[in-house]
């Protein structure tokens, strides 16, 4: 998805994990992926540079959908979609 398309998304939940260190942001995302119903868009805000690379890798591994990332000033907005139960 393009940045413009990502900005139009209405996430079911936004997790602000700024202030936690690797693998904190990923773990916060996972909690939400578990809890939200299938079809939900989840936004993760991370201040950890690794997350922008780590999260897509994890989503791919567990077969959930990575929608994209918007880089901010010292943080990253990462969008994921829950496509199956886990």
């Amino acid at each position: 998805m393009t940045e413009e398309e990502l900005k139009q998304l209405k996430p079911a939940v936004t997790v602000d994990a700024r202030g936690t260190y690797c693998p904190g942001p990923l773990m916060e995302l996972i909690k939400e992926v578990r809890q939200q119903p299938v079809g939900s868009v989840i936004e993760l805000i991370s201040g950890d540079a690794g997350s922008a690379k780590d999260v897509p890798e994890w989503l791919n591994k567990v077969k959930q959908e990575f929608l994209g990332v918007i880089p901010g000033d010292g943080f990253w907005r990462i969008f994921a979609k829950k496509v199956k139960d886990m």
Partner: protein, 130 residues
């Protein structure tokens, strides 16, 4: 990567327990079956007494982890246990030598095991040692 991961922590160095907990957490939430074997001096890091007092042997990064108030290794293990398949075993021999009971160990420890049992767990698993 194999779907089974075994991690042996033998050193008391704080950073080693920390990196073990990071790898274990991400693996556990990625569907990997993770088993941790805590042995030798690493057992001191899993004693309630030392965890309560944050009495750990660490280097420069440990000082930074404390200063930045990053999650400690036992907190990472704890959240991994809630979200994925992770078991923590402490070496029976060390418990014998130090005369410690399961109650002396922090609650995230599942059980104590001998080497034959842990070798059984390691069979077919990717193994990392710290």
């Amino acid at each position: 990567m194999s779907e089974k991961l075994a991690i042996i922590i033998a050193s008391e160095e704080y950073e080693k327990s920390h990196v073990a907990s990071m790898i274990a957490s991400v693996a556990a939430v990625s569907g990997v079956d993770v088993s941790i074997f805590v042995t030798m001096n690493a057992v001191y890091n899993f004693l309630k007494e030392n965890v309560e007092k944050k009495n750990f042997t660490g280097g420069k990064l440990y000082e930074q982890i404390k200063e930045k108030k990053a999650a400690m290794f036992y907190e990472l293990f704890d959240s991994a246990k809630m979200l994925g398949g992770l078991k923590i075993y402490v070496c029976s021999m060390v418990m014998d030598i130090l005369k410690i009971e399961k109650d002396d160990l922090i609650d995230i420890v599942d059980d104590h095991l001998g080497l034959a049992a842990f070798l059984g767990i390691m069979e077919g698993a990717e193994t990392i040692t710290f």
